[in-house]
Symmetry: C2
Subunit: 375 residues, 2 copies
């Protein structure tokens, strides 16, 4: 059986490209993970998600533990079989969504109790329970249970929270045990404070993980502060393990993160935007609901090979969006995920060929051109 | 260029099987036409609709004339190109939806004026305008503009309405002109009155059409009265032209209609039901929202080869329905359309092989068994 391993194949500046090998297949890095919150990437068939080039999905522990429950998914053969996705799945720990979605939270050293946002029922998440749930789901990459304070927060609060997360990281490691072919990732915290980030990274390295996430960013601090932190934070982590930036992001966030040494990212943006008519293209964002598209026979992006661009006019996409037809979300989500994966492939190629700086320059110049002129 | 033609290949009792040839491809009859109201079969990619076995779609003139408008679709190259469907399309005349959806209707000898249900704007439909719109859409099978009275209605009202529709049928024929490769179908009216049905059929035959619809049924009269009418009405129509029963129906309606000599049908039922969790199977209707499915690892129908049945458990389909995920409507619509098309193929084969009575018997017996027992 293939073990979980990471091979760093090339670097270009701080940018890295490599391959994470798992028993369920390889993950080419830098990798973008579409989000399949409730055992589905919204508006997509799983075979269509694979067709966009995704090697791995993210599933949300918080949502799945509440509905249909981890025990039920386990009885049904695990999350891969349940949702008809046989490639790798990374699950988050549930901690972040408890903080952002659940009601009546109570945080203690042991863990967190909360009420479900679906039916108000009471639940508890601890490092041990999070590990158990992620194992029941059959996750290939399991995330440590952590706490993520909202920013801005004062340094004492951030330090206290980070140290709690490091104690929980040790408990997660202990509870995870030895599961060949499955990986456990630690999560660095510490807000925007370099010394706390370094302290957190050191604590995680001492415990030892199969990969390391940069947590606590993309929570409202803005791109400039996020990039400031990414200028140093990845450097505190081991070079020979994958680095995952959680919850990022817009295309320019992604390119900037890869430039700073990040290997993996996830975000709901391409799928959520697909359902609200916001389209990502090489030339920036297109809002398909805009009346300028009503009579436009051209594709969203003539260079794109996704089904939305290959088979439909902007006029059609505008019509079905305005008519609130499901095919609107289906086609635009497909396009957005295709665009994000194409962006990742472009970066992987550029890093391999030592021309990442040129790639970045072209990326920003092409975006700055903006959408094609109306007819 | 292929002309529009109909070949009756076999009969078994009153049931018929044949092929309608058009420049855009053959339509195997008896045929079920999925409904693509607003230039999309809701929740389906057009290539998926084709994969279910559909040879032809129905488009709604009323919806398309209001949004995005027939003139816009014409400028964009016609409905086939607009919606990425290159097989035949039949369009209705708009008359039925004006009566069921539009506001402030005013009916005269000339036609009908009404207000859009979308934005309240004023519009007029006449036989001539309906022919023009259907030509702008690029419809392969055009329906005469007719009036369909709600049932029950007294016989004088039904007779008066039918005779108006026959005058409109002549005007439709005159306005349609000579369009090789495109067909115009007349619509028989006359409610549940045999003498009026015969009078209507005679009027249509004198005008001469490429096919004939039985209109004014499936409007609330119930299956028994509909079948009573279908026991005689198709016999008033020419044998050498296709016969289309509009707006039908449930699987047992369809089988009963084919048994009575109908060649074509359309209905929103499989797609609409797919979005509300109602599933059609050989064993009758399954309501996927029922809690009995929550832990059921079995497919909807183990004999079905559609993606929903091949790749997912009832438990998954229950979960995504309860979670209001789009994939629920996508998978269940696909299944329902697949089931309807498989039913049509089964009838075509049975008629060809002279065993339609046996097919009908097995169909009803299998349905009567009901769904598999809960685990």
């Amino acid at each position: 059986m293939t073990k979980f391993s990471y091979s760093l194949n090339a670097t270009d500046g701080k940018a890295r490209t490599g391959v994470i090998s798992t028993p369920r297949g390889d993950i080419r890095t830098p990798a973008f993970m579409p989000v399949g919150t409730a055992a589905t990437v919204k508006a997509m068939m799983p075979e269509s998600v694979a067709a966009t080039g995704a090697d791995i999905l993210l599933g949300n522990t918080y949502h799945l533990m509440l509905r249909p429950t981890a025990e039920r998914i386990d009885r049904l053969g695990g999350l891969h079989k349940f949702m008809n996705w046989d490639k790798p799945i990374l699950t988050d720990s549930g901690g972040f969504q408890v903080m952002s979605l659940a009601g009546l939270r109570k945080l203690t050293e042991k863990g967190v109790t909360f009420k479900s946002h679906i039916d108000g029922s009471s639940h508890e998440l601890t490092p041990e329970r999070s590990m158990e749930i992620q194992q029941l789901l059959g996750s290939d990459i399991v995330m440590c249970f952590d706490e993520c304070p909202a920013l801005p927060a004062d340094k004492d609060r951030i330090a206290e929270s980070m140290r709690l997360s490091m104690r929980w990281a040790q408990r997660s490691r202990d509870a995870f045990g030895d599961r060949p072919g499955h990986a456990l990732f630690g999560i660095m915290q510490g807000g925007l404070e370099a010394d706390l980030r370094e302290e957190s990274a050191q604590a995680l390295r001492e415990i030892g993980f199969d990969g390391y996430a940069v947590g606590g960013l993309a929570v409202g601090e803005g791109q400039e502060k996020m990039f400031d932190c990414l200028d140093y934070a990845p450097g505190f982590l081991p070079e020979d393990k994958p680095r995952y930036l959680m919850g990022v992001g817009k295309p320019d966030d992604i390119v900037g993160a890869v430039a700073r040494g990040i290997d993996m990212m996830d975000c709901v943006l391409p799928s959520r935007s697909g359902r609200t008519g916001q389209v990502f293209t090489r030339n920036g964002v297109v809002n398909i609901k805009n009346a300028r598209h009503a009579d436009d026979p051209r594709p969203l992006d003539e260079a794109c090979t996704c089904p939305a661009c290959s088979n439909y006019s902007r006029a059609y996409l505008h019509h079905v969006f305005r008519s609130q037809e499901m095919i609107s979300g289906m086609l635009l989500t497909w396009h957005n995920l295709h665009y994000f994966q194409e962006l990742m492939q472009g970066m992987r190629d550029a890093i391999s060929e030592g021309r990442f700086a040129e790639f970045e320059k072209t990326f920003h110049e092409t975006r700055a051109q903006g959408d094609i002129e109306p007819l």
